[in-house]
């Protein structure tokens, strides 16, 4: 059996409130696994414990009890970070570094150097579409560009797991779509992704599996299509169907004992329309 990319067992995190007796339970007895190759969406309202969970997985915060592992290694060990790339929410990297210098800096932190690091930085800049901005300082980057350099920095040491916190927050629709395409691309290369997001539409488009956190507890978990498909209904979309044909189908439906729930013209999404207009 392959070991899970992330394994969280009975994780609890309690924060003391300064100068008071009460305590805040950020995560309560959480257990979940993320299998290799999956895109896992961790959802939940603000303050539900998503960020805390993520920080514990990355070893930035120690758990009160329970344990987390990354590919079988305890995530409180520094070595386990070799397999993880992380993009925090609204990151600001060093403004005075250029795109390429940023990638080299993070590469050096992972023990890379020389020509291999140079090549890797160039490849990643190309991958995220920033090769023309490689020599510009990050202070002049747009929000979308910062997120893309953030993705590149997360990937610098070729980790098998990516942890992304709100990767498209505050990015315009075109940039957001590019980031989404990049994530799907990473997935097709076999990289496991843990994604925290509020943008449910986007989560629905890219995640295989989702978990919903509420007040620190996992309230629902499972494969996306199992969770949201309506089992007893089927959707049919026709093109160039004449009114006569439609009438015939409706009659046939009624004769077969089924009920027609809705008949409408499919609409393009506002996103697709917006992208079309601003192309």
């Amino acid at each position: 059996m392959t070991e899970p990319a992330i394994s969280i067992r009975n994780l609890t995190k309690v924060y003391p409130v300064p100068f008071r007796r009460e305590r805040v339970v950020a995560v309560r007895d959480l257990t979940l696994n993320v299998e290799p190759g999956q895109v896992y969406g961790l959802l939940g309202p603000n303050g539900s414990g998503k960020s805390t969970t993520m920080k514990i997985v990355l070893g930035l915060v120690p758990p009160t009890s329970g344990e987390t592992q990354i590919f079988g290694r305890d995530s409180s060990l520094v070595e386990s970070h070799e397999e993880v790339g992380f993009l925090p929410e609204n990151p600001y990297f060093y403004k005075y570094l250029t795109g390429e210098e940023t990638l080299r800096f993070y590469g050096k932190l992972c023990g890379m150097r020389g020509q291999a690091l140079k090549d890797r930085s160039r490849d990643l800049l190309k991958l995220v579409g920033l090769e023309n901005a490689a020599d510009r300082r990050l202070g002049g980057y747009s929000k979308g560009m910062l997120q893309r350099i953030g993705l590149a920095q997360a990937l610098i040491q070729e980790p098998r797991l990516l942890v992304l916190d709100e990767p498209t927050a505050g990015v315009d629709p075109a940039g957001s779509r590019e980031i989404r395409d990049l994530i799907l691309d990473f997935k097709s290369r076999g990289i496991t992704i843990l994604l925290c997001s509020h943008l449910l539409g986007q989560v629905q488009e890219i995640c295989d599996r989702v978990g919903i956190l509420h007040k620190g507890s996992l309230v629902r978990e499972g494969r996306l299509e199992e969770l949201i498909s309506v089992e007893n209904q089927t959707q049919l979309i026709l093109e160039n169907a004449s009114p006569e044909l439609l009438a015939k189908i409706e009659a046939e439906v009624a004769r077969g004992g089924a009920g027609l729930v809705e008949k409408s013209k499919p609409q393009t999404t506002l996103e697709r329309y917006f992208l079309e207009v601003t192309k």
Binding site: L60, N90, Y94, K108, K126, L127, E158, V163, R189
Partner: protein
């Protein structure tokens, strides 16, 4: 999308060799890596340089020039004394101020911008992060000290040459006058001419003695060590401070307490006999508020006293011990910090 296909082909090159080259990309993780510390240190130094902190050196240059402008009526010994006193004093204040201000913002900025998360999410131990930050500041202080020393020595040398030129000119004029007299007078005057050149040589030597002396070295090293001590102390405070204002205010307060504490300690010791409890208390006070008088070799050196090697070594090792202790205390707090 039109760039979809190019994206994909680039993705091939960037990602496809992942499994094959894994061993190459992931060298065995070392529990301490100087390369990582160096990467963080040089990045910190680069940050400070690109933030243009070196502009303060211009102010130092102005102090230097200003201090030599208003002492025309002094004797050369006095002039050099004032020049050395004010230059070393300014160096001491500037390096200290730079150490406190540059260090105070390093951690809070990284935490606020979440840059710290991205760094610690890489295989970087927290100790290396702190050490790298500290070494970056120490590098900045080193460069500043070297540049200020260079400026100071240049001005001092220029004034020395000016004085020598003046003395040589005066004595040459004097000798000329005497030679003219010698043609008509007795042998006694010839002897005086010889003694004039001796006097000139003595005057030049006196000038040289009152400018450069070997003891300037220890004074400058002590200035650097004091700044290094404050960089480490400020880093320590910033690991638990809630804001950088708090860090700066605390660090400055410790500076002043550290400057006056030897006096307070003497007074206190005079009234309390050296009980073990009193000694322990004093040791704690000395750790929290370093005795800055020990680093003040400048006054002695400017006054012309020589610094014994023992005293210098004691001061230097004390500085190194303080920096090390503060660094480990900072790590102790930082390693438990919830980010």
């Amino acid at each position: 999308m039109s760039n979809q296909s190019t994206d994909t082909s680039v993705a091939e090159t960037a990602l496809k060799r992942a499994p094959a080259s894994r061993g190459h990309i992931h060298p065995h993780h070392q529990s301490f890596s100087f390369a990582r510390v160096f990467a963080i240190a040089s990045n910190t130094l680069l940050e400070l340089v690109r933030l243009k902190v070196f502009y303060f050196l211009l102010i130092f240059a102005l102090v230097l020039i200003g201090s030599s402008a208003f002492m025309i009526n002094f004797t050369f010994q006095e002039q050099f004394q004032v020049l050395k006193d004010s230059s070393l004093g300014a160096m001491s204040i500037f390096t200290w101020l730079l150490a406190v201000l540059a260090t105070a913002m390093l951690l809070p900025k990284d935490i606020e911008d979440r840059t710290l998360y991205t760094i610690l999410a890489k295989p970087v131990p927290r100790f290396e992060y702190l050490l790298g930050k500290l070494l970056g500041v120490l590098g900045l202080l080193f460069i500043s000290t070297v540049v200020m020393t260079g400026l100071f020595f240049t001005v001092l040398y220029a004034r020395q040459e000016l004085e020598i030129a003046k003395v040589v000119q005066e004595s040459a004029a004097m000798a000329k006058g005497m030679e003219a007299a010698a043609e008509t007078a007795t042998e006694a005057v010839t002897g005086t001419v010889a003694s004039v050149s001796e006097q000139t040589a003595a005057a030049v030597k006196a000038i040289k003695d009152s400018t450069f002396s070997w003891s300037l070295g220890p004074a400058i090293v002590a200035i650097y060590l004091k700044a290094a001590l404050f960089a480490a102390l400020t880093l320590l405070i910033s690991t638990f401070a809630s804001s950088w204002i708090f860090t700066i205010v605390t660090s400055v307060a410790i500076y002043f307490i550290g400057t006056i504490q030897p006096i307070a300690r003497e007074y206190w010791l005079a009234n309390n006999a050296g009980t073990p409890l009193a000694k322990a208390f004093l040791a704690l006070v000395a750790l929290l508020f370093p005795d800055l008088q020990l680093f003040n070799l400048v006054d002695d050196i400017v006054a012309g006293n020589t610094i014994s090697n023992i005293l210098f070594l004691k001061t230097a090792s004390l500085g190194v011990v303080y920096v090390t202790v503060y660094l480990f205390l900072a790590y102790f707090i930082f390693s438990k910090k919830e980010l």
